[in-house]
Symmetry: C2
Subunit: 343 residues, 2 copies
């Protein structure tokens, strides 16, 4: 059973465990600061298939298969898979999972999908609706470029606030019980769509920062905790521009995240050497970083309490061309390692 | 708490109630057999806004506001809204709900979204994760035509197997308790992605029928029930072609649905007079029919047990152009009225 605390936060009575996880990434991500910590990296991001869309599907499926393998489960033995992605009509997930024989719950949260899938999966396991659930998402630079921006062959210039879509995927397997070293999800917080009027589709960080600030502020108020009660408050892919705005917005709201905050979009690439402008983005950014680096560090005991806040920009190429503003959303899960629990 | 029965069906220990619902539709749907039973119909499907996308957003928001009003709740007092749609990156839902101040769980199930949103909402209410939840989806003929098919101005010919995207929306408000006349959701069944190799994007009924047959067959086996145990087994939008295939596939699987089955895509338009070829489709088809006609009939006691099986074709314009097959999915909820419960 779950229990509502404060206005919008949900506390799980029997926090599910992340019994296995896998973070996969492409060539550029391999060359970045986390290159050595991903479970698997791929120099050939075509995966030998005929389209970028299919390459992304392969990556997502591979992440789920590897996570299931690490949990010593055949993929087909899961009770439910929860996934979503950035391809129009979420075809990366549906084509990746067609034929696997597992019931499927499709989600859409743009780049917030990893936190959204972990949220729903945790609640359903806690409720007894599934025994083993897979939560996954991914993205591919080349699919995203041609769908949202320009044909790759065009070689378009990028503005300084633009982020680089990660070629990567992350998957986690959740269960009601597991080993004591398996991190647990103790709290879930569904975000509220927040739109402060940003219209620049080349500045997703600015569009998503207000949603992240709202979710983090609401979570801290609901739980009566301070930023310093966490080892890490990890946002999804605000990048360098969005992270600065987040800290500023939260300072105005009375919360100082200095020394506690980091962002998957800042962690995944080397800003100086990799020419990614404002950092990484895409569903696969926070998914690959969380499901390799962060959860591995939690297993080693280096982080005990991580508030994972993945952020999504809920625009489409059509809405951008129509001059609409960019609504943002940020979903959060509190992940703990060890016996301690937050109220 | 939920309890798994059989292989993939979930039985809710404390079945949530649908305390209010609203089904809205456009001009062509008003002229059809259900024209008089929708909560509201609109002759001007532009809604006075500048784009078809925005018109669809207005329709979805209006359905949720009306359902909330019928539940005597301000929309902003809901604990969670679960919604999705067919626009690229689900912008109908995110733009419709931006600014409403309610936590949002975005879903993607194509035309199966009404059953998917009811499924997740029911489980989260049963688990205590929310008190009041809104489940909604919608579609708009003009948005769908230009996004998936041809510009409206082109006046393209339609093949005999093609279905007509419904301009409509449906919304339901769920709660743990309610009036004894409020229908309850007792069982949830997440579908498995099923693909028998159909590649004709103008024959969605054929693409989705195998998924519906799998879900219905699995549900009947899991619950140990027969088709005749239900007053109605209502599929989402298989239309005339898909419905015939469904009955044939289920006959081969040992289940005879004759006299028990109907389909929202067959109910919503007059096949002879309205020139819709194989019937209605779109997220708004099953949503508007369920949330007006069907749930109203349940309140009147005319149906006691309805197995609602919404179907989705998980393709995109890109996957269709790439010659890929069309994966289908069908999610099911068992809705009961009165005190009786199924095992």
């Amino acid at each position: 059973m779950a229990q509502r605390i404060g206005q919008h936060t949900i506390r799980l009575t029997h926090p599910p465990r992340v019994i296995a996880h896998a973070g996969l990434a492409g060539k550029k991500e391999k060359d970045g600061p986390l290159g050595a910590v991903f479970d698997r990296t791929f120099d050939d991001v075509t995966f030998g298939v005929p389209s970028w869309e299919e390459a992304e599907q392969t990556l997502l499926r591979t992440a789920l298969e590897l996570a299931a393998k690490k949990a010593h489960l055949p993929l087909g033995s899961l009770d439910l898979i929860l996934a979503g992605d950035l391809q129009n009509q979420c075809t990366a997930s549906s084509f990746a999972l067609s034929g696997c024989g597992v019931p499927f719950c499709g989600l859409y949260g743009a780049c917030s999908t990893m936190a959204l899938s972990l949220s729903v999966a945790s609640l359903l396991i806690d409720a007894g609706a599934c025994g083993f659930a897979g939560a996954a998402t991914g993205s591919h630079f080349c699919t995203a470029e041609r769908q949202f921006r320009k044909p790759l062959e065009y070689g378009g210039q990028r503005t300084p606030t633009a982020q680089w879509t990660v070629t990567g995927a992350g998957a986690a397997i959740l269960a009601a019980t597991g080993h004591k070293s398996d991190p647990r999800i103790t709290h879930v917080h569904f975000g509220t769509i927040t739109d402060l009027g940003v219209t620049d589709a080349a500045n997703m960080g600015a569009a998503m920062a207000p949603a992240a600030a709202k979710t983090i502020g609401d979570f801290l108020r609901d739980t009566g905790t301070a930023p310093q009660d966490y080892d890490l408050i990890l946002t999804g892919d605000l990048g360098f521009v969005g992270s600065e705005l987040l800290l500023e917005l939260l300072r105005r709201d009375g919360f100082d995240l200095a020394g506690v905050h980091n962002d998957c979009g800042c962690l995944i690439f080397d800003r100086e050497k990799q020419d990614v402008h404002a950092g990484g983005s895409g569903c696969g950014c926070s998914a690959s970083v969380l499901c390799s680096h962060i959860l591995d560090e939690m297993r080693r005991g280096n982080y005990k309490k991580v508030l994972f806040v993945a952020t999504g920009a809920l625009l489409s190429a059509t809405s951008a061309l129509q001059g609409k503003t960019i609504p943002g959303i940020a979903h959060a899960v509190l992940i703990t390692q060890g016996t301690e629990e937050t109220t």
